[in-house]
């Protein structure tokens, strides 16, 4: 098998030169999909029978929760690739995913709290899923704080990658917590292998929003990765050339 594509992706100039031209289109597409999905979910999709309009927050809450876990996996896997193959690009991806994942975790927690008040009668309960999502937020913050604490950036990335990998023991617990401890949060209703109990009128806009959030995540990740590359390579000649060409 030809592995040159793999090495090309490992080159910072190649990455920046090939990602930035279509980055704005990707962000635009993600934004458009979010607008369409929001209109679909908020205006067109029917009202939920028991909860009324408050249930519409799932169009933000569920996709954000998806991304918060997917972000952690991305961060841990990118960190592992960086440690094993010593690819700097992987470390930049890891570094750029961390704040995005933390933000998505915070969004999932906040939207859940807002929805919880009218539905459960309380903003916050120490339910298994909510508590473990809060722990996930601290895992993200720990990785970011550890990377930033190192004087040498590369050592910080390597340490952050190890912490990310060690932290993955918590991810299956978070993922399965709603099935193992049935407290207040409902168990998973979106399943790949079975028919979902959600009505298609609500399910389709939800799936659309999940797809849009994934796209947004990918776009933000690439944008932030390019930013980190340019920041740390700012004294290299290729950055100056690239910048001059762009003007």
């Amino acid at each position: 098998m030809d592995w040159t594509w793999f090495h090309r992706w490992g080159s910072p100039p190649w990455f920046v030169k090939n990602v930035t031209p279509w980055l704005k289109w990707l962000l635009l597409l993600a934004g458009l999909m979010l607008v369409v999905g929001s209109c679909w979910g908020l205006l067109i999709a029917p009202e939920e029978a028991k909860q009324g309009n408050s249930a519409r927050i799932i169009y933000i809450h569920v996709p954000a929760a998806f991304i918060s876990l997917a972000g952690y996996y991305t961060m841990a896997i990118a960190g592992a690739i960086g440690l094993i193959w010593r690819m700097k690009i992987a470390f930049w991806v890891m570094r750029s995913v961390a704040p995005i994942g933390a933000a998505m975790t915070a969004i999932a927690l906040i939207t859940g709290a807002i929805w919880g008040k009218p539905t459960w009668g309380t903003y916050w309960v120490w339910d298994a899923r909510i508590t473990s999502m809060t722990i996930l937020l601290f895992l993200y913050l720990g990785v970011i704080a550890l990377i930033n604490a190192y004087r040498d950036v590369d050592n910080g990335y390597r340490a952050g990658a190890i912490l990310g990998l060690v932290g993955t023991i918590n991810i299956p617990i978070i993922y399965k917590s709603v099935d193992w401890w049935y407290t207040l949060h409902q168990p998973a209703t979106l399943k790949l292998t079975e028919d979902s109990p959600i009505h298609p009128d609500i399910l389709y806009p939800l799936l659309w929003m999940i797809a849009s959030f994934y796209l947004l995540f990918a776009a933000l990740m690439l944008a932030n990765t390019c930013r980190h590359i340019l920041l740390s390579e700012s004294n290299k000649r290729w950055v100056r050339q690239w910048y001059e060409e762009g003007k």
Partner: protein
């Protein structure tokens, strides 16, 4: 195997020569637990109810107090690079240090915890289970705490960062450890929780020293 035991012996000799290394975490543990009735009120029913969780949470904090000494002293006096050049592979050296830490910090803590627990109103069975779970779960705490200590070693950021990193990783041990004590005080079956804590140890004993050794190599580079 001989050098493995020699490292444990060295750690214990250093630890007991400098007794406050052993006494400080226990004193911290005791004084925080003594503060609890002052903060929460002396109601025996309330204290007995929260005692399993309190004992466990304070134990997590107490063990973290001594975490930065685990590699910090060797780093400062320069014996860490020496330990890294031994014929014994670095993960084994790290495991020996973690085991010695467990013997010096966690075992004494597990011994006094039942007494403090009973002062807070735990039943005798629950106090016995407190000892047992702190002994078993405490090994996991030392192993995971060792990774955090190694990761933060060269940053100079100290205790707050170790805590931010280690505490989220302690969640599974805390859940099953305090659940075991809770179950014992209610007269329910304890065995499943103890087995899960043991399973965590069996997972952490081979994996944690490898992660901590990798982190130490970064710290030496830094």
């Amino acid at each position: 195997m001989n050098s493995f035991l020699a490292i444990i012996g060295r750690e214990l000799r250093i630890g007991f020569a400098d007794l406050h290394r052993v006494v400080t975490p226990i004193s911290f543990f005791a004084v925080v637990l003594v503060l609890m009735p002052l903060g929460l009120g002396p109601s025996p029913q309330l204290l007995a109810k929260v005692a399993p969780g309190l004992v466990w949470v304070v134990a997590l904090l107490a063990i973290l107090i001594s975490a930065d000494r685990l590699f910090g002293d060797d780093m400062k006096e320069g014996s860490l690079p020496q330990l890294m050049t031994l014929s014994l592979a670095l993960p084994w050296v790290v495991l020996a240090k973690m085991l010695a830490w467990w013997l010096m910090a966690m075992v004494p803590l597990a011994v006094i915890a039942p007494i403090l627990g009973m002062m807070l109103g735990l039943s005798t069975e629950a106090a016995v289970i407190t000892f047992l779970t702190l002994l078993i779960g405490g090994l996991g705490l030392c192993l995971v705490g060792g990774i955090s200590a190694a990761l933060t070693l060269s940053t100079g950021a100290g205790g707050a960062l170790v805590a931010l990193i280690a505490l989220p990783l302690y969640v599974p041990i805390l859940i099953f450890g305090s659940a075991a004590v809770e179950a014992a005080s209610l007269g329910l079956a304890v065995k499943p929780y103890v087995l899960i804590l043991l399973a965590f140890d069996f997972l952490a004993v081979p994996l944690a020293p490898v992660a901590a050794a990798a982190a130490l190599r970064i710290a030496i580079d830094d």
